[in-house]
Amino acid sequence: MAVGEVDIAVEKGEVRGLIGPNGSGKTTIFNLVTGFYRPTSGSIRFKERNIVGLSPQRICRLGIGRTFQIAKPFHSMTVIQNTMVAAIYGKSGKGEKDPEKESVEILKLIELYEKRSRPVTSLTLADRKRLELARALATGPELLLLDETVAGLNAVEVDAVIEQLRKIRGMGVTIFMIEHVMRPIMTLSDRVTVIHHGKKIAEGKPSDIVNDKNVIDAYLGTEAVA
């Protein structure tokens, strides 16, 4: 069983980090929330509504956007086309019907506008991750599930992403992010949840988590990252 007895509540408007060793079940939690997996017991509530059993596309339309750990762009298309698909299909029923304009705005925010007509096969890793973020954002989510958005990025790229996430949070989007790189977690999160072997072992403010003995034993090691 990948995830057992996890009780997590993310507040609207907060930035919540989700950390834990590899294989602890973090991505599984995302898969459960977004409808790719079905829980054997328990409920998943989004805005007072149980979303267990709904399809991923339905959940997307309800307002949850998600990036994948390994970027999954639509490889036949250009950057802007990728974003527009999300803007066209992910926004159904959320009002505002100019996918092109919205895509352009999002690409400018994520700093991909210059490369908008490039085929995604020509993008670097950092840009692919940006595109994942842009695409998830284009669906107009209220909750954004980010799966290791800065993994594999250098320090400069990580800084850029942190800034973008700050702006996104300023737009009123709730963010729930899985990360192994501690800097975004420490600088952005209001609270952090720690998972180990499919169970929650700690939850609280980043500064508290970093000093939590359980967390240090399971994951961080005795030299916590600054």
């Binding site: 898969n31 997996y37 399809s55 991923p56 596309q57 762009p73 639509f74 086309q81 698909v85 908008r116």
Partner: protein, 332 residues
């Protein structure tokens, strides 16, 4: 419908170019029955049938990426609808019968679509293959469909190829224009998204299964209508002929050899396949099938994008082997 091209200027030029191509092509086809021999005209009818089937099948296999190995099923349903309606003296009006053939084919696709399109790549291929053979056996053994005697459709005399020719010209252009409109619309965008990454497509709000069924139905409609036309043109329909593996295989080959996922690809593929067939049949008779198989191997091994995909590098590759190996949902 809103199109996704960002370069506006280039787009209107392209559209004018395309429009002129259509006009020129139509003008070229119109005088054929008057200036060419009856043999050439008949081959042109066959070619246009191939093009129509190929373009329809491309919507499913090229743009949506679902490789059906049994699309002859819909060809046969269209053909038999016409044959049975005529034989049982229900209706003699050709356009209605042909259209009804297409609609029945599409209806059947809608019914079996849901279970079939939840199968992953290879299993969908095998499942559809089996379906076409089930139909072949069913129709061969049913008295209602006159078993293996087949059904003759009386030809109005004196015989003239003209009505058949112009009907298929209109049909082919109709199908090409329809396919073009679909492909450049939001629907086409959804199709390509599903082909590229179904999970990502789901995560941006696309109902993958529903759109797959839609693509399945649309391609069935096109192929079914051609089947109906075939019944009249050939004036004879029998199970081995219309539910044959050859027809399914030809559709697959035309699309992939020509260039899956493009508008021009299936057309080029249809021309090449027809040429190979006719020339092959002249020299090595049934051996032409071997040539076709070799062509398919060439596609899989060397040029997955087909002729058009390889020549015009801007066209995305669609690799048939990768499509068959596709796994299902939700990898963690």
């Amino acid at each position: 419908m809103h199109c996704v091209q960002m370069k506006r200027g280039m787009w209107s030029k392209l559209r004018n170019f395309k429009f002129s191509c259509y006009i020129i092509a139509i003008l070229c086809t119109i005088p054929v029955p008057y200036i060419a021999s009856s043999g050439i005209t008949a081959i042109t009818v066959l070619l246009l049938m191939y093009v129509s089937m190929s373009v329809s099948y491309n919507l499913l296999a090229g743009y949506l990426g679902d490789l059906s190995f049994g699309h002859a099923t819909f060809f046969g349903i269209g053909a038999y609808t016409v044959a049975l309606l005529t034989h049982y003296q229900v209706c003699y009006f050709q356009p209605v019968n042909i259209l009804f053939g297409g609609i029945l084919a599409m209806g059947f696709a809608a019914v079996i679509g849901y279970p079939f399109l939840r199968l992953k790549g290879l299993y969908f291929a095998i499942g559809t293959l089996g379906l076409s053979q089930i139909f072949r056996v069913l129709f061969k053994n049913s008295d209602f469909t006159l078993r293996s005697h087949g059904i003759n459709i009386p030809v109005p005399l004196p015989y003239s190829i003209h009505p058949y020719y112009y009907a298929i010209v209109a049909l082919t252009f109709g199908i090409i224009v329809a396919a073009d409109r679909i492909v450049n619309s939001r629907l086409g965008l959804a199709f390509v998204s599903i082909r590229d990454d179904p999970d990502a497509a789901r995560m941006v709000g696309i109902n993958v299964t529903a759109y797959r069924i839609l693509g399945f139905c649309i391609s069935a409609l096109g192929v079914g209508i051609v089947g109906g036309f075939f019944a009249y043109f050939n004036s004879y329909v029998h199970p081995e002929g219309v539910f044959s593996l050859d027809i399914s295989f030809e559709m697959l080959l035309m699309v992939f050899f020509g260039g899956a996922g493009t508008i021009l690809g299936p057309i080029v593929g249809a021309v090449i396949v027809l040429l190979v067939e006719e020339i092959g049949r002249a020299f090595i008779r049934q051996g032409y099938l071997l040539l076709l198989s070799l062509m398919l191997m060439v596609v899989f091994l060397v040029m997955p994008g087909g002729v058009v995909g390889t020549l015009t590098k801007q066209t995305p590759f669609i690799n048939p082997l990768a499509q068959l190996r596709r796994k299902r949902v939700g990898s963690a």
